[in-house]
């Protein structure tokens, strides 16, 4: 007899502890007009909805088990992203549908949301303070990454590294991973995209042809004054690296006559290739991810991008010094 009672009470305990780990939103909102309160996930899927009006001011969403993440809470005309976990949230007060800024609502149970909001940088272009990565948990960081501007690969990596694998199933984390992936192409250490382009004589040349050597890719066009100026600067030092480095200038000219004229005018001593699809239309340009020229990339002997975003002779020389000093070729 005793054994059975023990077993049942154990079951009950387990049940209640599971039940408390669900999200619950309890609200009581007074409004002069009928308003709709709803909860959606980041993909816009409706999870719960209630119509709030006089005599019917209270509503409950849940209890439901959710993946801790950002959700979109809509009250009347106002939608806000909220970080929710499997806890109870209360919303009480007054909502003004005509002038939402005159609303007066109080929220409880949103400590984690409020905490992560404090780490949103004041200026959009600033990065998140490093403190966030030690103070916030993985789910909060995932939510934070969704709310800030993540526009370079290394920055996105700092978020991804902190999110435990178990938490990568949230929508914001999925979004972050996709972002990181798309940014990867604009980072260093990745394989430099290959190409097959004609030289002056029309013979097709590929990046792979130079495996084992350092390669400088110099993207330019005949109409680009600064490009031509910098190429004159390259001419002053390229001989110092000639034994280790292959210089390649890739033109993005669309007009063949302009290209030919420029070649005659400039007397470029190194390999010249031509991507005739043109600036802004070239798939090669898209794969290297640049929007302005001059744009130079230094590729290491293994074919990996060593440095990118080089826009003048000074920077190029610095990069070449760095890579040749570290390598023994």
């Amino acid at each position: 007899m005793k054994k059975i009672i023990f077993f049942i009470s154990l079951l009950l305990q387990v049940y209640t502890s599971m039940a408390s780990e669900q999200m619950l939103i309890k609200g009581n909102i007074k409004s002069l007009s009928k308003i709709t309160v709803s909860l959606k996930n980041l993909e816009g899927k409706l999870m719960a909805e209630a119509l709030v009006q006089k005599q019917s001011e209270s509503f409950v969403f849940g209890p439901i088990s959710i993946v801790p993440d950002l959700y979109m809470l809509t009250i009347g005309k106002t939608t806000q992203k909220v970080f929710l976990t499997n806890t109870t949230v209360t919303i009480n007060g007054y909502y003004d549908d005509a002038d939402p800024q005159n609303s007066n609502l109080e929220f409880t149970g949103l400590e984690q949301h409020l905490e992560l909001m404090t780490y949103i940088p004041k200026r959009i272009k600033d990065q998140v303070s490093p403190e966030a990565f030690s103070r916030l948990n993985g789910q909060q960081l995932s939510a934070l990454s969704y709310l800030v501007k993540v526009d370079n690969y290394d920055y996105s990596k700092t978020f991804v590294e902190k999110i435990p694998v178990a938490d990568l199933k949230s929508i914001s984390a999925q979004h972050l991973l996709k972002k990181a992936d798309s940014l990867k192409q604009f980072s260093t250490g990745i394989n430099a995209p290959d190409f097959s382009l004609p030289d002056e004589k029309g013979k097709l040349v590929s990046l792979a042809d130079f495996k084992g050597r350092i390669v400088v890719l110099d993207f330019w066009a005949s109409w680009c004054g600064p490009c031509r100026r910098e190429m004159e600067v390259f001419k002053t030092f390229y001989k110092n690296y000639e034994d280790k480095v292959q210089f390649i200038s890739i033109s993005l000219d669309e007009d063949p006559s302009k290209y030919k004229t420029a070649l005659q005018e400039m007397n470029i001593p190194w390999l010249k290739l031509w991507d005739k699809s043109g600036f802004g239309k070239s798939a090669l340009q898209a794969s290297y991810g640049f929007k302005a020229i001059p744009f130079c990339v230094v590729v290491d002997p293994e074919g990996k991008v060593f440095k990118r975003n080089i826009i003048n002779g000074v920077e190029l020389q610095k990069a070449l010094n760095a890579i040749t000093k570290n390598k023994e070729i």
């Binding site: 002069l32 009480n92 007060g93 007066n104 929220f107």
Partner: protein, 578 residues
């Protein structure tokens, strides 16, 4: 004719945040901490409140003798607020039956009245401004008329030239019409447009002919030469011509045909072209300003010019703009010690709500006059007015002043806030105020401005040594807000609510005192700050500056509302009378 000031207009509208709330998003970062600090006192709590708690310590063994009625003339009221609903006045003579049981001209006026609505129950929240209404009323008489110093002129569009005005012009009303430029964008745009007709005409005719006498070539004349044109004729100056010349010279001096860093000064030929080309813009601006005037009164279906006509509006008091009056109500009568919300000053008061203020636009003085009369007839003890205005049309002023005299005759106290525009009230008046006529000053009229918890006046409150009576807590004060919530606010409106609350408190225990006596008790028994130096914003030659003042230069009482001292004085006075 007076020189037209070409400076920027000051439009006195109630759209200026007369009443400020802390800007809040939909999320709070912490529970709104209740700060009904007007209850505190400087000596006991280190906060320049109105010493209300101290007053209650004194009154703790006394019983109230009447429940005072406070009429709040404002934006309506959230009558269901958890901390206020026990204090809402209920009209003993009305039943919710759709009938005007007491035949006072309003049906189902259970808790007061909403004058901005119609009998179908519709609410009106957007109406025009007083200045616009006055402009529309008077423009057929005075639009486009200017005073030259010798006679009135207007521009005849048919003849395409200035002509003398032949019908007699009422100078007082004409001068009043000119003031509307500062009160109505349509009036200002009209003035600019009408004057531009003169400018264009004189430029192309009189000035052109005059300057060609010396410099025959248009393309060589710049502002330098243009400035020297002789305007006088026979020793007399036509001030319209003179001002036109002044403006044109100034425009010419700053206009240039090329623009950019290597500007060339414009020449007369190009300038004339430019004036002709841009002239239609002024008409367009005027047309747009006219079209922007909202006539919300139509929906109310009454005649706003007939102050005797009632039976309009409805009994719905709560709208989304009712929050400021709801906050005033909380300061006056929120329940005390119910462990909820704020502690009001006189929770035994009954609050009557009279809604005449719209969300956008300015009140009709007809509604104000009728609201005051309503309060008096329904036995209010204290009337709390809303924001005053800078313009007071004479015929409408009479309605309101008569109503105020009526209130005075019945011993009612009228409390008015100032606007928070940093204005010196000895230089500019706002209405209504206690000076209802040159000889007559209302002794039952109290004007209030906001001070903060450190005893300093709100920097941008209006002030006046003789015009402002007393300061009262009005900066970051917590009170009742819509939907049974609580919020902090700042403004002289809240300060005035403090005074109304203290007046109601005195009346509750000493109902024998009239409005005049209440005013004396309040103004004569303040927390004295008179020789304290304070920083205050003011205008010096139309520029807002911060200056130092002594407290007693700013107001009559030289101090801050003090409920405890006022109650002590009331108690002493009551014993004297016996």
């Amino acid at each position: 004719m007076n020189i037209i000031k070409s400076k920027g207009l000051l439009i006195f509208t109630l759209c200026i945040p007369f009443f400020q709330l802390k800007a809040q998003l939909i999320k709070n970062t912490a529970k709104e901490n209740i700060a009904d600090w007007y209850n505190l006192s400087a000596d006991q709590d280190g906060v320049y409140g109105a010493d209300v708690n101290k007053a209650y310590q004194f009154l703790k063994d006394k019983a109230i003798k009447k429940k005072p009625v406070v009429a709040i003339i404002g934006f309506g009221l959230d009558t269901e607020h958890e901390d206020l609903k026990q204090a809402v006045w209920l009209n003993p003579n009305e039943k919710a039956d759709g009938k005007d049981n007491d035949k006072n001209g309003w049906a189902d006026d259970l808790h007061g009245w909403n004058f901005l609505g119609n009998t179908k129950g519709e609410m009106v929240d957007a109406i025009s401004k007083v200045g616009d209404r006055e402009f529309l009323r008077l423009r057929s008489k005075y639009e486009g008329i200017f005073w030259t110093g010798q006679n009135y002129v207007r521009f005849d569009d048919a003849l395409n030239k200035p002509v003398k005005v032949t019908i007699p012009v009422d100078k007082a009303e004409f001068d009043y019409f000119k003031l509307l430029r500062g009160e109505s964008q349509a009036a200002a745009a009209s003035n600019t447009y009408q004057f531009a007709k003169f400018m264009k005409y004189y430029l192309l005719n009189d000035f052109d002919q005059e300057i060609k006498k010396t410099y025959p070539d248009d393309s060589k004349i710049t502002a330098k030469e243009f400035r020297k044109i002789k305007i006088e004729e026979n020793g007399q100056t036509d001030s319209v011509k003179m001002v036109a010349h002044m403006f044109l010279t100034s425009f010419m001096g700053t206009a240039n045909p090329t623009g950019g860093p290597n500007q060339q000064p414009t020449t007369l030929d190009k300038f004339k072209e430019n004036i002709i080309k841009t002239f239609p813009n002024r008409k367009e601006k005027y047309d747009n300003a006219l079209a922007a005037i909202v006539d919300g009164r139509k929906a109310i279906e009454d005649n706003p010019n007939d102050v005797n006509q009632k039976n309009y509006g409805n009994g719905n008091l709560s709208t989304s703009s009712s929050f400021s009056s709801t906050m005033c109500a909380g300061i006056i009568a929120a329940a005390r010690d119910n462990q909820l919300g704020v502690n009001g000053i006189a929770p035994n008061a009954e609050l009557m709500s009279l809604r005449i203020y719209p969300k956008t636009g300015e009140i009709y003085y007809k509604d104000l006059a009728l609201a005051i009369r309503y309060a008096v007839d329904q036995k209010a003890d204290v009337i709390l007015l809303g924001a005053p205005n800078s313009i007071y049309p004479p015929n409408e002023a009479k309605w309101v002043n008569d109503a105020l005299l009526y209130a005075s005759s019945k011993g009612i106290l009228v409390v008015s806030p100032v606007l928070d525009l940093s204005k010196d009230l000895s230089k500019q008046s706002f209405y209504p105020n206690k000076n209802i006529s040159a000889e007559n000053e209302l002794s039952n009229f109290l004007t209030v401005a906001a001070s903060d918890s450190t005893g300093m006046p709100l920097k941008d409150g209006n002030f006046g040594k003789k015009e402002l009576d007393v300061y009262a807590p009005g900066v970051n004060v917590s009170s009742t807000y819509m939907g049974s919530t609580y919020r902090k606010g700042t403004g002289s409106m809240l300060a005035a609510a403090n005074v109304a609350g203290v007046a109601a408190l005195i009346k509750a225990y000493y109902p024998q005192f009239t409005g005049t006596q209440l005013r004396s008790l309040i103004v004569g028994n303040v927390t004295l700050r008179d020789n304290v130096e304070v920083e205050k914003e003011t205008f010096v030659k139309d520029r807002k500056v911060t200056d130092l003042f002594l407290f007693n230069e700013l107001c009559v009482s030289g101090g801050i509302l003090n409920a405890y001292k006022a109650i002590l004085a009331a108690d002493a006075l009551s014993k004297q009378k016996q």
